[in-house]
Structure formats: structure tokens, C-alpha cells
């Protein structure tokens, strides 16, 4: 089932297994970080796209599909990141997160709610007593264009308000200018400010241009202490794509092999249909491995996706197609 041998994005130049000191060396200086990142083997672009497309063509039917739908629902980070968000909208979304389909208690709750920092207290209150986590974007989301103290204050604010998870954005400007050390230090500083909260690092792959950059940024984030690497803010197009997810899942697997630490992956933006979601689950299973098929290691950031999952679930269980008005619009 798990076919890893042909992964074109496979990394060959990472420090061998069991030598944790190798990774500590990587973070020691700008020079060592640079030489490590530039030493990573290049991603075969055509091969990565072909493999992602091939895995996306898998046919998942019947009982397997039902399992995939429930698994995907439990991995959703139900997201609202609009200027027009209100406490009322966040409360409504929290209700949906706890019980996605009011008519069917068998539907699992989603993994988390993802909001702006000022709305965390409302989400926290609305989700009290439920397993649903509250995630907050921070560090001047979505552009990340602010000085470090402002970003850290943003993080501290979200954590103080009760956020269980923090979604930070990396400084793409610094990354593209080649200042990898700046990016790493920022991730490390934010990780420290997070305290007990889990850190998701948004790479904004739509702005990183190449798969090689995606791989390098993933490694920076993981070395910096990320609990999750996340594709996108959802504000930039292209957002999550299967080849990008493949490269990130590869990086996460290699990192786990080397350091023994399992980092999660979150795809965000552009995942709208059940079909898309199941494609990503196949990628996760085939590239990172079955251990990643759980909400602590894989997430899908979305808003509209949940309704499509619920409609497909209805169809699978009841036999008739659900209507577009059968589920609340968040």
C-alpha cells in the first residue's frame, strides 16, 4: 500500500537517521543553515506533479469513502478570516464546529476553529467543554509585514486569550531575499511566545515560486520548532495544491526520520469539495504514511468544504442526493 520508493521529491541529502546533533548544527549559524538548505536535493517538478496527479486519480468508494469523509470532517479547521467577522458569526461557526450536522449526532466534530486573535475569547467561550480547539492566526496575518516585537505581541495576545493553536506566517520577503536565518529566528521566537499553544507555520507556498523553496521553507519551519507546516493563508492564489502538499509531506516524513519528531501538515485554501479532500488524504497516506491520517498530524483549513462533506455523507448513508439548502451556510 505505502509506496515510497518512487517519490520524486524524496530527500537524499538530509542528515542520516539517529544523528540529532546534525539538526542542532543546522540551526547554529546562518552559514550552516544556508549550506544545509542549499544542499537539499532539488525537487523534480514534473515528477512531483505527475505523482500527485496519479495519486489524485485513486478511486475511493462506498465504505472507504464514508470513512474518508468522517476522517476529513474531523480534520477540518473551520475557518473565518474576514474583515467583516463578528462575534455572532464566530459563535454560529462554533456551533457548527461542535455538531456539523444537527440532524445527525454521528458526525464527528471538526478539529478546530480558526479566527483572528481578537475573536478568540468568543470562540473559546462558545466551545467550552467541547474537544474542538481554537486556533488563531497571528504575526500580522496574512502579509506578515510587521516588526518582530509587534508580531510577538500579536502571538502573546492570542495565547493570553486562550488560543490552543497559533497560525503564524513566515516573512516571505526575507525568505525570498535569501535571509533564511531571519526566518528561522522568527519561527523560534514565535514558538517561544506560544508557550503551551501549538504552532502552525504558514509558508504561503503561492508566493514561494518553486517546489525547492517550499521544501526549504518547510525545513526552516520544522527546525524552528513548528508543530505543523501549513501551505497557505487562503488569501493568495494559488493556495494549496496537491504537488505542494506532496513536497511538504515528504519533508515532514524525512524530518521525522531524522529527528524522531512528527510534524503535522495543514493544507489551506482551495479545498472545496469532498473529492479534493479525499485526494489529500490519499497523498497523506501514500507519502507521509498512515500515522499521519489523524487530526493531530493533518488538517484541512476550509469553510465551504464542510458542507460538501456533509452532503456527500448524506448521500452515502441515505442514498438520495442532499440539497444545497439542507445545511447551514456559515
Amino acid at each position: 500500500m505505502v509506496d515510497r520508493g518512487r517519490d520524486p521529491a524524496r530527500t537524499g541529502g538530509v542528515p542520516p537517521r539517529g544523528r540529532n546533533s546534525g539538526l542542532a548544527d543546522v540551526a547554529r549559524s546562518e552559514v550552516s543553515l544556508r549550506s544545509f538548505l542549499l544542499g537539499l536535493p532539488g525537487v523534480d517538478q514534473v515528477g512531483a506533479e505527475l505523482r500527485a496527479a496519479g495519486l489524485g486519480a485513486r478511486s475511493i468508494k462506498a465504505a472507504a469513502k464514508l470513512w474518508a469523509i468522517d476522517t476529513a470532517i474531523s480534520m477540518v479547521d473551520l475557518t473565518t478570516l474576514e474583515g467583516a467577522d463578528t462575534p455572532g458569526k464566530v459563535r454560529a461557526l462554533c456551533g457548527k464546529a461542535r455538531r456539523p450536522d444537527p440532524a445527525d449526532p454521528g458526525v464527528p466534530p471538526v478539529a478546530a476553529i480558526c479566527v483572528y486573535p481578537d475573536l478568540v475569547p468568543f470562540a473559546k467561550a462558545a466551545l467550552a467543554g467541547s474537544p474542538v480547539k481554537v486556533a488563531s492566526v497571528a504575526t500580522s496575518f496574512p502579509s506578515g509585514r510587521a516588526c518582530l516585537p509587534v508580531k510577538l505581541a500579536d502571538v502573546a495576545d492570542a495565547v493570553a486569550a486562550g488560543a490552543d493553536e497559533v497560525d503564524m506566517v513566515i516573512d516571505r520577503g526575507a525568505f525570498l531575499a535569501g535571509h533564511y536565518g531571519v526566518v528561522l529566528e522568527e519561527v523560534q521566537a514565535v514558538k517561544e511566545s506560544c508557550g503551551p499553544a501549538r504552532l502552525k507555520v504558514i509558508l504561503e507556498t503561492g508566493e514561494l515560486v518553486t517546489y525547492d523553496n517550499v521544501r526549504r521553507a518547510s525545513w526552516i519551519a520544522m527546525v524552528g520548532g513548528a508543530d505543523f507546516v501549513k501551505t497557505s493563508t487562503g488569501k493568495v492564489s494559488p493556495a494549496a495544491t496537491p504537488p505542494v502538499a506532496l513536497v511538504m509531506l515528504e519533508a515532514v516524513r524525512e524530518f521525522a526520520d531524522v529527528s524522531g519528531t512528527a510534524v503535522g501538515v495543514k493544507v489551506a485554501g482551495g479545498v472545496r469539495t469532498t473529492k479534493d479532500a479525499i485526494k489529500y488524504l490519499v497523498l497523506v497516506n501514500e507519502v507521509a504514511g498512515e500515522a499521519w491520517l489523524e487530526p493531530d498530524r493533518f488538517r484541512i483549513g476550509a469553510s465551504g468544504l464542510l458542507n460538501d462533506l456533509l452532503m456527500q455523507r448524506y448521500k452515502q448513508r441515505r442514498g438520495a442526493y442532499a440539497g444545497s439548502q439542507d445545511f447551514s451556510v456559515e
Partner: protein, 289 residues
């Protein structure tokens, strides 16, 4: 050298959301002429094709209903113009498919064009006929206005593959509904040719979607689909109506059941069929505000 020329045979495909896809199932079926000789291959739609058609119809319906009644009339008239321009082609299709004589086929095509013009005229008039300004005992205005029901599933008549089809589809779209049409199973060619007329008539993609296939396979799916608001059983097999009505009851669809034997499609229509697929909305508002 005419005899050495390779015949160019047409592939009949579905009409969904303004595009002409094959069935996602890859299936097709042989359409036979009146003597049983092979006539054409048509796509054999699956329930997933039907689902796509409903999604397309739902997407298109809001915009079509929001278009002015005048514009809907203009578009329907345009459909009539385009059909008239392809008169000979449809006559051939009816002669080959249903075994009509040239004169019968010609009169069916004429009737179809006239039917479209008739409904085109109704599109900006039905609200005056079906709506009203209601007298109420108080200082208020009170209006009743007919609004489109939404997405209508249409099982097209099995025998009259063009005139019958036009007679059931035109009243549905004239008032602002979108239609998902299951073409006549034995004679799908005129419906699929009509789809090409619709595609070139300024009718927004998705307002009419045509699928060909087994009515017995598709009708229950359409009837049970919760995103379909109404159902026209003109082409349902005798004896299946009650079952389809039961499936349709899950989301309280409007179901139009035809009497047996089917109506004489060449007879002068009445607005009843059109008004069946509308909902009356009544609004109050105080005078002077």
C-alpha cells in the same frame, strides 16, 4: 467520388451547464429507428451525470430568475428563431427517429417553433394573470406575485420527442425556473439536437440541461434528489408515478402528473402547465411608507 467519401457520424453527448460532456460513466446506447435499424449512439447518463446537471441548474437558476421577464421572453423567442433555421434538420431527425411522414414531421417542427413563441409571449404576462392586488380590511397594500419554483426535473414525453419536449420545457423556463430534462429514452436525438439550438440561443448555460439514458434508472434519482424543487412526470412509465411521488415527498417537491394516455401535444396549450411551476408569494406593506 461521392461514394468513396468516409461518412462523418455524429456523437450525441449530454448537455450540462452549457457544455456537451460525455457521460462520466463512459456508457452509451444504441438508438434505433422505427424498423429497429441502428440510427445513432447516444450517451447513457448515470446518476452522477444527473447530479452534475442538478448542480448546474441550481447555479444557473438564480441568475435566470433575476433576469427581467422581458429578457426571458426575448431569449425564448431567440430559441424559436434558431429552431426555425434548423427546420429541415429536425424534420429529418423526426422522420428517421419516430417514423413520421415528412408532412407530419414538418408540422411537429412548426408546432414546436410556435409553442416557443407562445411561451415567449407569456414570460412577461403570467405575473399579471396569476398575481393580484388583494383587497384587505386595513390601510395596507397586499400583493400576490408568482415566483419560479426553482430547479425542475422534467421527464420528457416518450413518444413526442420534439413537440412534446418543447411543450414541457418551455413553460418551465419561461417563468424563471431551471430544468433538468431526461430525454425520451427511445428517441433522444431531437432533444440532443435541441440542446445545440439552446446552446446558441443566448440561453445562459445550465438553465436547461439535457441527459439521455434509461428513464427507469434516472427518474428515481431525480425524484429523490433534495436539491430538485419540482418534478414533471410526463415521460414516466405507467405504474411508476406513485413510487416517484413518494420519493419526491421527502423534500415536498411539486409533482405534475400527466393523465393517461398522455396529452395531445399538438393541441393548443393553456397557461396551467406554466403556472404549476410557480409559487405564490404574498407581501404586505403599509400605505405611504
Amino acid at each position: 467520388m461521392a461514394e468513396s467519401r468516409l461518412a462523418v457520424r455524429k456523437t450525441y453527448k449530454l448537455y450540462i451547464g452549457g457544455a456537451f460532456p460525455r457521460s462520466e460513466s463512459g456508457r452509451s446506447y444504441l438508438v434505433a429507428g422505427p424498423e429497429g435499424h441502428p440510427l445513432a449512439n447516444a450517451a447513457l447518463a448515470s446518476r452522477k451525470d444527473l447530479r452534475e446537471a442538478v448542480v448546474a441548474a441550481r447555479k444557473a437558476q438564480r441568475g435566470w430568475a433575476a433576469a427581467t421577464a422581458y429578457l426571458r421572453g426575448q431569449v425564448l423567442y431567440r430559441v424559436a428563431e434558431m429552431l426555425e433555421g434548423r427546420h429541415a434538420q429536425f424534420v429529418d431527425a423526426l422522420v428517421a427517429g419516430e417514423g413520421l411522414t415528412g408532412a407530419e414531421a414538418s408540422s411537429a417542427v412548426d408546432g414546436s417553433v410556435d409553442r416557443l413563441v407562445w411561451y415567449a409571449g407569456w414570460s412577461d404576462k403570467f405575473a399579471q394573470v396569476a398575481g393580484s392586488s388583494n383587497p384587505v380590511a386595513g390601510p395596507y397594500f397586499n400583493f400576490s406575485i408568482p415566483e419560479p419554483t426553482g430547479v425542475v426535473g422534467v421527464l420528457a414525453p416518450q413518444a413526442s420527442s420534439l413537440l412534446g419536449l418543447v411543450s414541457v420545457v418551455a413553460p418551465v423556463i419561461a417563468t424563471g425556473n431551471a430544468a433538468v430534462v431526461v430525454a425520451s429514452e427511445a428517441h433522444p436525438v431531437p432533444a440532443l439536437e435541441l440542446a445545440e439550438v439552446l446552446a446558441t440561443s443566448d440561453l445562459p448555460g445550465g438553465v436547461v440541461n439535457v441527459v439521455s439514458g434509461r428513464t427507469a434508472e434516472l427518474a428515481p434519482v431525480l425524484a429523490a434528489h433534495r436539491d430538485v424543487d419540482a418534478l414533471d412526470l410526463a415521460g414516466a412509465a405507467e405504474g411508476t408515478e406513485a413510487e416517484l411521488e413518494a420519493a419526491a415527498a421527502d423534500n415536498v417537491k411539486r409533482v405534475l402528473r400527466s393523465r393517461r394516455p398522455g396529452p395531445d401535444w399538438s393541441a393548443e396549450p393553456s397557461p396551467a402547465r406554466m403556472l404549476f411551476f410557480t409559487e405564490i408569494k404574498t407581501v404586505w406593506h403599509p400605505v405611504g411608507v
